[in-house]
Symmetry: D2
Subunit: 419 residues, 4 copies
């Protein structure tokens, strides 16, 4: 979403900010207040926190005579930035009934107006922070949807967020293997467009030849795994994974329920039968890994994934760096095409989330954005049906702990090419 600065940034700012509020519109003030587990944040917290980001990292530094909108918000809506002061405890965000939704929207209005008043005068560094703020807000747009999905799932009345917003795809079948040569290849972000610090620097890695499935694992395949005792055989699981299965009583993906002999799934569009052809979603890294072992395959590394998508091509819309218009997808080679690389589910890789060689966090408190989480998490690649337009690129590194199931997490198979 790198912008023709003076010209486009104000417009993009308005569009991204407006989308967040549109996403909250179907939700009542009560819906927007609840926090159903420590990982989940209330909708109105997302709306306020993304605003706090602009207030703290743009206005405070670049607005003449800056004064905070409300001093209490400085702490309430600071997620985890130690460098800019205290934070209200994450697990207790559901206790914050005030400011209410109306007041949060007022906060958004006020900050938007103050940004608008200075945006044309901002220098390059400030523009970079605005741009970072917009990408940050886009991330929270997906989090907002993931989180409200969890909130509504806990309600026995099975509320609907919006009709039909989950994918029910007649996916490609059967899956085919796309062969990739490997060798000494470049990975990581190297061009001009926007990227997070964790995608940099571009660097060289050596890959052995490998093959990647041309589509994601489907719900139908997952039911075969379940029916074959997948959740009951310790030999298929990492030790930590087997422990998680026992501890949490996992027998199926999150949001699946067995009702009258049939698997159903809670979605933002309500509860409906599982569609066998759609990509399986809401499985942990442990489950993805066990499934792969059961299938006689493995998960791809993040570099195998990135290189394949860049090389073999994909038929998905890869949203261009202007954030708004899809660019043509890379041309598929003769050897196959990696379908469903974006827009369905994030895809667990076999790679731990660690710094690239030569990684340098962004300067100042925004350097806390990515680097300090490089421990205990696994990388996911691609994007999901909830990822906003313009927030997808082949070098993007998403990350979650291996037991996480509430993000839009899916699975793609890989295997060695032993020819």
């Amino acid at each position: 979403m790198r912008l023709a600065r003076a010209t486009d940034q104000a417009r993009t700012y308005a569009e991204v900010r407006a989308l967040s509020e549109r996403l909250a519109e179907p939700l009542s003030p009560e819906d927007q207040t609840a926090q159903t587990m420590p990982d989940v944040s209330p909708t109105k917290w997302h709306l306020a926190h993304t605003t706090w980001f602009f207030e703290t990292f743009v206005l405070e530094r670049h607005e003449p005579g800056f004064r905070p909108h409300d001093p209490a918000f400085r702490v309430l809506f600071n997620s985890y930035y130690q460098g800019v002061g205290d934070q209200y405890p994450r697990a207790e965000r559901g206790a914050i009934t005030r400011p209410g939704v109306a007041e949060v929207l007022g906060y958004r209005r006020a900050v938007d107006e103050r940004i608008a008043a200075i945006v044309d005068e901002l220098d390059g560094d400030a523009c970079d922070l605005v741009e970072l703020g917009l990408h940050h807000e886009q991330q929270h747009q997906e989090l907002l949807l993931m989180d409200i999905k969890h909130v509504l799932s806990r309600n026995p009345t099975r509320p609907v967020y919006a009709p039909q917003c989950d994918p029910i795809d007649a996916g490609p079948d059967p899956a085919r293997w796309v062969a990739i040569d490997g060798g000494l290849v470049d990975v990581g972000h190297g061009g001009d467009g926007f990227a997070y610090d964790n995608e940099c620097p571009q660097h060289r890695v050596h890959l052995d030849p490998y093959e990647l499935a041309d589509r994601l694992v489907t719900s139908g395949e997952w039911i075969e795994f379940i029916d074959d005792g997948g959740y009951e055989r310790p030999d298929l699981w990492l030790s930590d994974g087997w422990y998680a299965v026992q501890q949490h009583g996992w027998v199926a993906p999150l949001y699946w329920q067995h009702i009258d002999g049939e698997w159903n799934v809670h979605t933002l569009g309500g509860t409906r039968p599982v569609a066998p052809a759609e990509p399986v979603c809401h499985v942990s890294h442990y489950e993805a890994d066990a499934f792969a072992r059961w299938a006689g395959a493995r998960l791809p590394t993040e570099f195998e994934w990135e290189h394949a998508v860049s090389t073999a091509g994909s038929q998905d819309r890869w949203f261009a760096l202007d954030g708004l218009h899809p660019v043509a997808a890379p041309r598929p080679t003769d050897r196959g095409v990696v379908r469903q690389a974006a827009g369905e589910c994030w895809q667990w890789t076999a790679s731990a989330y660690l710094p690239y060689p030569g990684f340098v966090p962004a300067a100042g408190a925004v350097g806390e954005y990515n680097g300090k989480f490089m421990s205990g998490q696994m990388v996911l690649r691609g994007s999901s049906a909830l990822t906003p337009p313009g927030h997808t690129r082949p070098t993007y590194r998403n990350f979650f702990p291996p037991a996480a199931r509430w993000p839009m997490t899916g699975v793609r198979m890989a295997r060695n090419d032993d020819r």
Copy 2:
């Protein structure tokens, strides 16, 4: 609140039900949704649960052609009655964003109308259940206020529920000892008026002579206790109490904060300096017990308390059994008067909450109201500033676990009369 049945019950019903809604009026939908600890229930849950009580125990049994208002509510708003089906988990009430406040008020309207349609035809047993439901709702009126006090306390913006609704009393000083003879006395509810099953049967106990303080322990006295190292001396504490002090880091009553060298207290009217003459409130049984040991006294038993209030008299308004008009307080004897028996703080006693000899729970699921909690809790007597009119009587047995601090819990001293 026993009623001239056919005449008065409809009117009382309307008044009690209206008060609940008035108590919720200052609160936003967001406020009414949050649950800040497992013991706390959201405001709108209280509004719905009290309605569920009438629907389940009156309408379902006595309304011809009964059909539930919403089948999901049967589970969502059943607190703990195993005899009438499943319950939604208590600790997760904050996850229930729907029904929202408006829908809950609609539920109230609908049930009120259905009750109104049959109330004149109800027989004695049914009238008893209506009466029980009204007392139940009054209990929840106090819980609603206790709970929202906790919710608002977690908010660093220090929201105000309503100006000046906490007591700031120029209490009587110094405290004097009221001597009571004891002997073989009757305790428990024995008359015609309404009482819970746990106040029955009236029975005989033997009391040695004793003395009771004529007022509650004040905040000023509590500051002396703190300043004398009360929270740092294990010799003053029950073993479990000392463990609680260590575990929770207690250094003062709940809601007290030391700001700029002065003790402040969070109240429903906002945060203000502690007033030395007001009764100390929001202390656990453990703290009350330790304070008494420090003061060279002890807590009264529940029977000492009840007998003294009945015998020595009190100057408080004891709300009459019609629930609406205060009756004259018993005349004080020459030997002193027990002040602040009601309307300030509930008063911890030295008595465990156990059944009276010959106790028989009410028949059916309403028998779960009191009896099954007779384990691990301590009795409190009197009433508090948040107790609604008509919900106070000398035989009333309130109860909480010894570590509870979020109810309106205060302290009265007793000692042996060794003359």
Copy 3:
């Protein structure tokens, strides 16, 4: 065990101390080291702690030129006496591999010799402390056996402590009700003999007429309770009890195992089939209470139990206050006799463990022996098959939390006498 002082105390001291060591003899150093849950203490800790008691409360105060045997032991073997310094954490006693068993026995030798050197010169107060120390050691003799029973139970090789030391009694059948008049009666310790402070002062209580079962509930009756769904019906349970059932997965008394369609029980004599006529043992207060509700009865209060045993008589050996010679049991009245009052299982009562009116803890740190535990526990009366001779009396108040199952806890029924 009050003694003809100068004459007998040395002899009794030697006998009690020797018994502790005899109880440890069947156990290896490894056995004597393990702690299988926080409530359990290692055997060698019991041997050392009882010695520490004499060192701290007798030698330190009464031995000229006292010096501690080993300064580290002052902390290691202080159980919970805040008044005499720090304590090693209770839950970590199993980490203390040194001093080993041999060194602990050396500690016992040394302290015994030092006590022997001064015992004839001790004044009355010091003699009282020696006597308290002996009763304290007797309590730990039972704890030692309870605890090692738990340790050995966790071992799948099912080790045997000693053949046949658990009761297999052809109990009296059927149970009969013994009717007791009640009235205004004296309870608590009032005579010259030894008693703990918690049994005092003797005082007057009023009892309604009641009936007590003439024997304990049997294992056969408990199997009927299980077979009738006793552990699956929430209506039978206190709320806390039902929670405990769910949390711990209780389906039978502790140490019971269903093997090949038959109930077996782990005992100090090994694992053997449950004997239907023997008193059921190792049930929690919650289970005792649920059983009573299922049986249409209730638990007796501690005063009903004490008064009945004193009045109606018992056929058990009640060990006399000299601790060594059984006295004749009280004569049964015409109305029945309370059998199995002692020597089988401790008997849960309906009474919370609270101070008697006018209770004054012993002076100094030994005052921590009983009083500070008067919270959250229930009283048991009688004694068990593991209680040492001379440690049983009708006023004895044992106490454990309501969920405890590893003591020798049994059940006796009571009911109102509504004639």
Copy 4:
């Protein structure tokens, strides 16, 4: 330790097995029984489990007419091999008082004799399992020492395992940077000698130029880190690391205590002052990472470490693959030498413990040895002062969770070479 099979294996077997018992000799039966945290196993459990390994994976498969030594041991001493049956819960190994030490030594005798009786007849696969069993036992020799160090550390009497067995090294000072070219290099085990499956297959990785410190971080440097507020500055820490600091209250390495203004350290040789020149030990990965950030450096990746040690050479004794005789260390290049690569402390790397490309676990239940733990752990390289002779090689991958501090964990710095 690959062996001239028929000739040497029996001798090596005897030597390795004897060493385990020698390590236990200074310990009493009590010492050998305790388990002070879930990660720690009792000494006698190590002695038994290593024996179980030979019984299960060699005797059961290769001894004619095999019968188990004791059926109960099959479960008691199975650590985590799901493929060969049930396991006794890890966290409760301290509850297993029987078999005692003498019986465990008898178990060792019996299995050793049975192995001796067949060892000369074993085929290649069986010999491989014997060899694996010996390496397994060597790993447990280090675990045994690590674990007993923890056990003895919990004892306030500060017991000594053996005089002076911890390193007090006059380490090289100041540290110097050894520059390594990087490029496309081979890593992983590729030769004939023994290696675990997780060191294979050898494969190619690309490394940018980098520099490695020629020695480990010292305790003196760590004190500088502490004194500069290292444990108090969140900006130095990974998010998970900072959480661990708060949760556990870390202020220094494990086993360090500040006594009278000086840092002391618990060792197997007793408690003594920290020696500034010795390598710091018993720090978590989080601490190592924070220290590196504070020092303006970083941790090396496991491949940087391996490549540097192979290329630049080391002056440490690298024990040859016959397990008994040190081979000459690789010759240092002109550019420096990596000292302290082995024999001091294991060295945290920046690499997560993951499978190498093409990794295939060993067949059968021994395949559970390494592969199933490839999640949530970090790789350590080198070896420690507690590692037995013959158990060190440059491709060896040790691994522990990032919060682990009880292994012999030290720190080596790395940095980019940006020339």
